[in-house]
Assembly symmetry: C2
Homo-oligomer: 219 residues x 2
């Protein structure tokens, strides 16, 4: 359709109106996210995109290249946003409240990404190195260093108990991410496989986690 180049500019367009490249990427995301790299089939991606398998290879030459695109997109949704949530000049407690709110919302919006990214990364940690090489200057170390100093300042000001920044970060992310990654186990073992109960559980997590952290580190 010759109108494509106009229509494609807008996000309210429906499936058949998108250009092929985007349709492929969306389909690939769906399939890779659930089946993983080795479980995904090029034919299934083609079917879901409503195109021919040869066309898939016309746009993204190999499975690996397509996978790389999908993985990198998923990875970039999380890591930079995660670190971004930590960089502001709010006091630590407020920063943590902000972080937990936004991070859990992000997880709720993309529930399949964490399991996908972490399991593929466990299977092939080399992917990370490639991403690092491509995106030369990640400022994550500055952010961490900054957070560390801020904590120390507030400890001396008598606002916080002494606490290691890295350990704290791992605690926070672990508490947020585990209910998502471990959904099948949690829903099965803790909630008798009741989907509604699990969702209800998720809804009250934000408040519980925030209170739990603050109780622990407030002086």
């Amino acid at each position: 359709m010759w109108l494509n180049y106009i229509v494609n500019t807008y996000s309210f367009m429906k499936e058949h109106e998108k250009n092929t490249e985007q349709k492929i990427l969306d389909a690939a995301e769906d399939v890779f996210m659930i089946k993983g790299m080795s479980g995904a089939r090029m034919q299934e991606i083609a079917d879901k995109a409503g195109i021919n398998k040869a066309l898939l290879h016309y746009y993204y030459r190999t499975k690996d290249k397509l996978f790389e695109k999908v993985f990198e997109k998923a990875f970039k949704i999380f890591i930079p946003k995660t670190l971004g949530m930590m960089s502001s000049d709010k006091p630590v407690i407020e920063k943590i409240e902000f972080f937990v709110n936004n991070y859990i919302s992000l997880l709720y919006k993309h529930p399949f990404i964490p399991s996908f990214v972490l399991s593929e990364l466990n299977r092939n940690p080399q992917i990370l190195v490639n991403i690092f090489e491509k995106n030369i200057q990640f400022t994550e170390n500055d952010i961490l260093e900054n957070f560390d100093k801020q904590i120390k300042t507030e400890v001396e000001a008598g606002i916080l108990k002494p606490v290691d920044a890295r350990n704290l970060m791992v605690n926070i992310i672990g508490m947020c991410i585990f209910p998502i990654i471990g959904r099948p186990v949690i829903q099965g073992v803790l909630f008798e496989n009741n989907k509604a109960k699990y969702n209800e559980f998720l809804k009250q997590r934000k408040e519980f986690v925030k209170e739990f952290i603050i109780n622990s580190i407030k002086a």
Copy 2:
């Protein structure tokens, strides 16, 4: 070798002394754990076990049956032990200290199981239902209910702040498990991909996590 049935009884035996069935199971564990169900190759398992591929199918008829055995073993190492650590009549704080110590040790001993189990479970949650059907009466609900009551008692006794048992469990497990599941990201982003620094980090986690939890829930 006709001595096999004697030799195999003991655990100090070397690879070539084990019986074929066990050699296969060990090899399958190695391969499935790292490559996952769809990434694993029967040929690789056979090679690693030092046997013929046909022999693999002689002992475990299909890939699915072999996978099921490996998965169930991995799953059973964690879930029952995890719940077991919660069932004692120690006071809550002591119970949590005991749990964190033992759970992190367990994770340290089997670092590939959590990622393997959770990612396969995310890809096919049905597996859980099958396991539940096989092992009819899991007593996890009693244990949870018990833990909940115990907390309420200690809250009324002024020992603990009010805290929901399920949320607390998810927090504890999340904090313990995330450093293992997220190893590539943590090592890469937090520790400049330095293996030694990551290991050092793991070593001090027990103390940090215990203190973090207790600080949070102690009245």
